[in-house]
Amino acid sequence: MNTRFTLPVAGLASVLAAAALLASCATTPPPCNSPTTKNLSAAIDQVQTELLNGCEAQFDRYYDELLTIAEGDPKPENKRAFSEFLVWSKDQGLLSRRQAERYYNTYFNVKFVALEGDYNNCSHSCPRRDRVYLEMERELNAKERGLLKVSLDNDGYYRANELYQEVELVLEATCTACAAR
């Protein structure tokens, strides 16, 4: 009598335990470990492995960590390493081409991604001038990191800095002229 009652309870308990175990397996996120080496090339290999193992949502963090590692050993070749990493990410479907371009050009190109736009300055840039300046300023910080601290491209960074100042000056004058219509 007693055994007949105990048996289904025990069975039910084990079924529940198994279900809980399976559920926990299904929701456990991958560890998404940070690269453990200070060598950029090796770090990129580690990051690529993590990204392919379900850590694609951590792409921003990994990119930032790779930049930090590269800052520890700055050299012009780093530019190529980042470009190749981004092309690989695009090929793996982790990033769209546009995203890959933005990641690269924000950090390693003199030109400002913040100045993308299909409409004329009077109608597009001027009404949101402050936002444009703010985005350019942020991007200049990124370029300082990518061009100057990672790639040792001093000239590139100074050109970007000069461009930032010139755009600000010319846009200021242009927008004043647009507003005086």
Binding site: N120, N154, G156, L163, V167, A177
Partner: protein
């Protein structure tokens, strides 16, 4: 905005004198270019307006320079005679009156020249305004503007561009030199130089227009105040400030902008171009 009427003449003068160098350089930029600008920022009418402004500004500058020289001498004499703190001394009062009279002379020159200056500055400002709105405002996207500003500057070889804005405290002849340097390198980056120059001059003109208008409103009051001071033989701190300001504009005596050395130029090893690069 705090507006000290007695300081207006110095501020206006600063802007006016800056114009003299700016427009002379611009006229030269355009005439020195064999191909002509791709962006039509400086058609003949604008260049002509600039030339006219230059003439008027130079006349004003010349007229003021002599008075400033006298003010300088009188001020030095006043200081050397230890008149500060000895205002009751009859000799010092006489010197203060002479100084005040020269100051009034300076105000009178400005009053006489300012209407012409205002007219030509406004003409130039309006012409430039129209060109900037049309060429850079309506015909260009922000991306095109960026490409224009970058065009002509070869990668990895940036010529140190002269600082355009904020010319106060710099010797007048140095300003001319800077503009001429810009003109001499403009062949390799024409549109960029033209766009930046046009923007720079236009913003200067905006400020100048405003300053001239305000100066004209206040100059009569400043003159009356100085005439009152004359009867007491007082050298006011404001007057000394104006004189000091004008001196700094003409002779660049306040050059206190300490320049910190920039980092050394990078090694030329930037041949790599990413397939992701714009």
């Amino acid at each position: 905005m705090n507006w000290n009427p007695e300081r207006i003449p110095a501020a206006a003068l600063l802007a006016c004198l800056a114009l003299a160098s700016a427009d002379a350089a611009l006229a030269a930029t355009v005439s020195n270019k064999p191909d002509g600008p791709t962006i039509r920022l400086f058609p003949t009418t604008v260049v002509e307006d600039l030339r006219q402004t230059s003439t008027v500004a130079r006349e004003m500058e010349t007229g003021l320079q002599e008075v400033i020289g006298r003010l300088d001498q009188q001020q030095q004499l006043y200081i050397d005679s230890k008149c500060e703190g000895a205002e009751d001394d009859p000799g010092c009062q006489r010197m203060a009156k002479q100084l005040g009279a020269t100051y009034l002379e300076m105000l009178a020159i400005m009053e006489e020249r300012l209407p012409d200056m205002e007219h030509t500055v406004n003409n130039t400002r309006l012409s430039l305004e129209k060109r900037l709105r049309s060429e850079l405002g309506n015909k260009m996207t922000p991306w095109m503007l960026q490409e224009t500003l970058l065009a002509g500057a070869p990668e990895g070889k940036t010529a140190p561009a002269p600082k355009l804005r904020g010319r106060s405290g710099m010797r007048l002849s140095e300003r001319f030199k800077q503009y001429y340097q810009l003109v001499s390198t403009s062949g390799s980056r024409s549109d960029q130089s033209l766009a930046v120059l046009a923007a720079d001059v236009y913003l200067d003109m905006e400020e100048t227009s405003l300053l001239i208008a305000r100066t004209r409103e206040e100059i009569a009051r400043a003159t009356v105040m100085e005439q009152v001071n004359q009867s007491f033989g007082i050298v006011t701190p404001e007057m000394m400030e104006v004189v000091g300001g004008v001196k700094s504009i003409l002779f660049g005596e306040t050059g206190s902008d300490i320049q910190i050395a920039g980092p050394p130029p990078a090694q030329v090893e930037q041949a790599y171009t990413s397939p992701l690069q714009y």
